[in-house]
């Protein structure tokens, strides 16, 4: 036990400082795919989430339920669905996107949207209605009101974003299926870790985990500054 973990940490340090090109490639793919997908998801999910949070409409509870359910959509199934769509005999087969980082971004995007939508909705709903009234009475239109509420519930929204990013970067089922874990191309930290695990190289798997966590910590440091910052 202790062996593998210490061995893993030492290996992690070695890999980082020898600038192993394969490891750096994996870092690049992992973060590019997960950051892109989460940001794109935020672009789509924030408006949707806040719309649902702001408005009252028939069937709101149903929609809420659906979002909550899709927060737990199994990545493997999402991977399968995206695979079937991009497969050579699927509807988008001719695009030739399968086994590319684009496909991985699509899958993670679809997984992140409900998470960000759900947390944004809850955050917007938690805002004091008096603030909403004040902003409206000052002449804000819907878009401006929306932006105000987003700013106001920044903390919870960033927390939601971080959860989604965390899930994306640590997710393996979907990227494995649609990305193919192709060495030098679509291999990410997690698919790599799975591979090492399958090979019984637990030490190496942990080394990769250590590197991933370390870099994620640095990335989060930036995002967290937003959260604990100005506010």
């Amino acid at each position: 036990m202790a062996n593998e973990i210490i061995e893993g940490i030492l290996e992690a340090i070695r890999l980082i400082f020898t600038f192993d090109p394969e490891v750096w490639g994996i870092i690049e793919v992992s973060f590019r795919v997960s950051l892109t997908s989460t940001f794109l998801a935020a672009l789509v999910a924030l408006p949707i989430g806040s719309f649902i949070g702001l408005r009252k409409f028939k069937g709101k509870r149903g929609v809420t339920n659906l979002i909550n359910t899709f927060m737990g959509f199994p990545p493997v199934v999402m991977g399968l669905i995206v695979y079937l769509l991009l497969s050579r005999n699927g509807p988008f087969g001719t695009l030739g996107l399968l086994y590319s980082t684009t496909a991985m971004i699509v899958a993670q995007f679809l997984l992140a949207v409900p998470i960000i939508t759900g947390t944004a909705k809850a955050a917007i709903e938690s805002v004091d209605p008096a603030l909403k009234e004040t902003v409206l009475s000052l002449g804000a239109n819907e878009r401006q009101l929306w932006w105000e509420l987003i700013k106001h519930s920044k903390k919870s929204i960033i927390a939601g974003f971080l959860v989604a990013f965390g899930q994306a970067i640590s997710e393996v089922g979907a990227v494995m299926i649609v990305g193919g874990n192709i060495r030098w191309e679509t291999r990410t930290f997690t698919t790599s870790i799975v591979l090492q695990t399958r090979m019984g190289e637990f030490g190496m798997a942990i080394a990769l985990g250590v590197i991933l966590i370390t870099i994620a910590f640095i990335v989060n440091y930036g995002l967290t500054r937003l959260q604990t910052g100005a506010d």
Partner: protein
């Protein structure tokens, strides 16, 4: 010209136990352009609810609100923003955005698409005016109660709306800042294009600002009229009890350079006041401030003494209300029953009324 017309307005809420409670019922009134309309009523009478509905922040259960003949209740979401921009709304409990004083005050202009360079100066000016110079960069959430109230006022006044909705706007303001508010409101009243609707539970505030007053009781309008009508001739007991009594006279003031006092011409009376106002004014004299003497008083500090006839007497326990007519003006006077008996006052008695120049309130109108 009726700018705003409220028709058959009703508002109901669901209570905790799901029973329905009517908060406003069958409200009808209209407000003219340039008018200052004050809604006065006790706690829970529905003032805030009414203002919120007018400000398009809440929907009525039924009824119409016409603005320039357009029914505001029925318009689309998008149109509502457009109309909402014609209103400003100072909330009873001011809420500020979690940012600096400057940004809060500038917000209304910013959402209207005005650029920083174009609003910076006017925001700075209004900050100075409300006495918060040097606090521009302070987070508005950390302001004191009165400071926040002033920011809320500035926030709403800077957008220069058609109609000002002011919900208990003087709450939390100390006497000095109240004067500031008076200045603000008087300035708006001078602009005949601007309309003001104020809610208050303070009769003095109603007197100060109102061209017309609506008395709200339990969600219904008990009386609408000029301040004088309301304060000297309340239609029902509720209004009488709630607003109290006050003599309100309209006149033209001139400053007497020699004495430093104002001479106010109210119809055929000349009233002396220690305030140094000039022009069109409202003169408020509390019924308790006026004394009655049988013979013409001499050698007194009472600057104002008029001869009159007791027109009416209303007994109210140990005190009574007298209506005394002096030339063409009527005065309401409160004295003790004992005094009345001692002086042998009856309807038709001739008396002299007395009040001090320092004991009247002059408001420019």
């Amino acid at each position: 010209m009726k700018l705003l017309q409220v028709q058959n307005l009703n508002k109901e809420y669901y209570k905790g136990d799901k029973s329905v409670i009517g908060v406003l019922s069958d409200i009808n009134f209209s407000v003219k352009k340039g008018e200052c309309f004050v809604i006065i009523g006790p706690n829970g009478s529905g003032k805030t609810t009414l203002l919120k509905i007018i400000g398009l922040l809440e929907l009525p259960t039924s009824g119409q609100i016409f603005y320039d003949k357009k029914d505001l209740i029925k318009i689309s979401r998008k149109k509502k923003v457009e109309y909402r921009r014609k209103f400003s709304f100072v909330k009873q409990k001011p809420v500020v955005r979690n940012t600096t004083v400057f940004n809060n005050i500038a917000y209304g202009l910013k959402v209207r698409g005005i650029k920083f360079d174009d609003y910076q100066k006017s925001v700075d000016e209004i900050i100075k005016f409300i006495g918060l110079k040097g606090m521009e960069k302070q987070n508005a959430r950390s302001l004191s109660g009165g400071e926040m109230q002033r920011v809320a006022i500035a926030m709403n006044f800077i957008i220069n709306p058609e109609i000002y909705l002011l919900d208990e706007v003087s709450a939390n303001l100390d006497s000095m800042n109240l004067k500031l508010l008076d200045e603000f409101i008087m300035k708006i009243k001078q602009d005949k294009e601007k309309t003001i609707i104020i809610s208050t539970h303070d009769p003095l505030e109603a007197i100060k600002y109102a061209d017309r007053i609506a008395v709200l009781n339990n969600g219904q309008i008990a009386q609408i009229g000029t301040p004088n009508e309301i304060f000297t001739a309340p239609k029902d007991e509720f209004t009488a009890l709630f607003v109290g009594y006050e003599n309100i006279l309209y006149g033209i003031a001139e400053l007497d350079k020699a004495t430093g006092l104002s001479k106010i011409k109210v119809n055929d009376l000349i009233i002396t006041a220690s305030s140094q106002q000039e022009g069109d004014v409202k003169v408020c004299i509390r019924p308790e401030s006026i004394g009655i003497v049988k013979g013409p008083p001499k050698n007194t500090s009472y600057r104002n003494t008029f001869k009159g006839i007791v027109e009416n007497i209303r007994e109210l326990g140990n005190i009574c209300h007298l209506i005394v007519k002096c030339k063409s003006e009527k005065f309401l006077i409160t004295i003790t029953e004992l005094s009345r008996k001692n002086l042998g006052l009856e309807i038709g008695s001739q008396v002299f009324i007395n009040f001090k120049a320092t004991d009247i309130t002059i408001l420019s109108s």
